[in-house]
């Protein structure tokens, strides 16, 4: 077994013999704990999102592969479309209207992935492109999250399967009343609207925080679920630790600095920033995308830290409560630039070269 310090950064190096399909299957498997937590707290809506996105992704992938005259079966079997669909679906609010999920998935697969040349050529993470397109196009539908099941008011329940299907596929006004009982702000959104209370006071006033352990009921477990999946993938050596750890470390550092001891001007505790929103999903499933991130280990450290920085800046001083998707897309822009300046030392050379140096 190779020592960790000898682990190669990028191609061309030893091969594990794992196919793309196997890698994607493992990634899908690793999303299960997070998805389980989401289903537990938010109900059927999560599963409907997943199913809708997966079906759309497979149909869109097959159709566009056919259009591009590529072998449909061969590429469909690499599971990459399914991974994109799942990562997008878990980021969407449960019980979102069906067209929202379908539009986002189509955008991710057709425009963000295939128009740029398909798997391996897309400069931007397709799932995040789909998410951002939806977020800026349909702000109302995209911010209508649910209250976690365990802290719903007495008498209110998450809708069952048939009612969930009705909410997703029809827009009858009769169901509007149902929303009032079950919709609620996310912890980051809620915290953003803290006006002048001490963090401790604010937490006591909001059930979402007072009933939660670290960062809001439900959300902390969703994040821990994705963290567990991420650790599994690290153990399986699907990706290296550099990018996710750099991102989380940067986020932690900034949160520590600006937490301000929980004063009325606090920008959120480290626990809130690490265990809420899409932090862990982003750190282990989005930032680690081998296509759109930086290539060398050192480059990945910079890339991850950049995302952590951007996430914090947008969360703290921007107008959106969460920022993982925006931060990832901005860092995707920067990834080739990071690569340009972080070429690793190649075998047989004394020192590493800059890409700008002339070849002799």
């Amino acid at each position: 077994m190779m020592h960790a310090s000898q682990q190669p950064g990028s191609s061309p190096h030893t091969h594990t013999g794992r196919s793309t399909a196997r890698v994607m299957q493992l990634v899908l498997l690793a999303t299960l704990p997070g998805i389980a937590a989401l289903v537990f707290y938010f109900g059927w809506g999560v599963l409907i999102n997943l199913l809708l996105a997966s079906l759309t992704a497979i149909v869109a992938e097959a159709a566009i592969l056919k259009l591009r005259q590529k072998p449909v079966g061969f590429y469909l079997k690499d599971y990459s479309a399914l991974v994109t669909a799942v990562l997008l679906a878990v980021a969407l609010p449960p019980l979102a209207p069906w067209w929202l999920v379908v539009t986002g998935t189509l955008f991710a697969i057709v425009i963000a992935k295939h128009l740029y040349g398909g798997l391996g050529y897309n400069p931007f993470n397709p799932a995040m492109v789909g998410y951002v397109v939806l977020l800026i196009s349909f702000p109302v539908e995209m911010t209508r999250w649910l209250t976690p099941a365990t802290i719903l008011d007495s008498g209110a329940n998450l809708p069952g399967l048939s009612q969930s299907l009705a909410l997703v596929f029809t827009s009858s006004p009769a169901l509007d009343g149902l929303w009032d009982g079950i919709s609620g702000a996310t912890p980051l959104d809620l915290f953003k609207h803290n006006s002048g209370q001490l963090v401790e006071q604010f937490y006591q006033g909001e059930v979402l925080f007072s009933e939660g352990r670290w960062a809001g009921v439900g959300w902390e477990w969703v994040n821990l679920g994705f963290l567990a999946g991420g650790i599994f993938l690290l153990w399986q050596r699907i990706f290296t630790w550099h990018a996710p750890v750099a991102m989380l470390a940067m986020l932690l550092l900034l949160a520590l600095i600006f937490h301000d001891g929980g004063s009325s001007h606090s920008l959120g505790s480290p626990a809130l920033h690490l265990l809420s929103g899409a932090t862990m999903l982003g750190a282990f499933f989005i930032v680690t995308d081998p296509v759109t991130s930086a290539t060398s280990n050192f480059g990945r450290l910079i890339y991850g830290a950049l995302i952590g920085l951007l996430v914090y800046i947008i969360r703290a001083w921007g107008s959106y409560p969460d920022a993982v998707a925006f931060a990832v897309l901005l860092a995707n822009f920067a990834a080739p630039f990071v690569d340009y300046y972080t070429l690793p030392r190649s075998y047989g050379h004394e020192r590493r070269r800059r890409a700008t140096e002339q070849q002799e």
């Binding site: 539009t103 425009i111 397109v133 800026i136 196009s137 349909f138 702000p139």
Partner: protein, 238 residues
Amino acid sequence: MSNTNTYQKLVVDGLWKNNPALVQLLGLCPLLAVTGSVVNALGLGLATLLVLVGSNIVVSLVRRQVSDAVRLPAFVMIIATFTTCTELLMKAYTYELYTVLGIFIPLIVTNCAILGRAEAFASKNGVWASAVDGLMMGIGFALVLLAIGAVRELLGSGTLFADMQLLFGPVAENWTIRILPGGYHFLVAILPPGAFLVTGFLIALKNSIDHRNEKRAAAKRQPVVAGSKRIRTTEVAD
């Protein structure tokens, strides 16, 4: 006028082969910024057309008097003059549209499509040819603006020709055509990313049409004679 610049060629160049927006990719800033609706696109397209024709004519008229060293400042001054005229005209007759388009009207001065035509064409050709070139380039630019504006308005808000009264007065108040049901909206098409996407798709469409035409032309040049086994050395009798 030299033989290479027949009027027909000027028309084809301006509208299609050398279209300022789709081939030269000039003037992209206003192209991307104001094409959120048909009326905005048409307004800016007409304003640009007016400036382009005027500046091409005047540049062509003074081309022998202006020395090479000062030609660029001179061209910019001429373009700025026409832009100011257009701006004042719009303020007088279509004030609301003028406020909607805002900074992009004065910014026509910096539209490189206009300076590009002055430098590449009008400063080397006669007045008539320059006028036709300006007109065709301007129409080509305006048509692309219009196409992008129409697609973005349709995708973004589901209507076509909304608010045309800003440009045509009260007559046009009922010109709005609602194609997709009310309440429909898809903001990304109206926001800047939509401009880039739609422009990209239009360029791809143009290229694929060109590609197909080329293929067809190539196929015509070498007729395949079915069943022919030997090389014909004489003309084929039909």
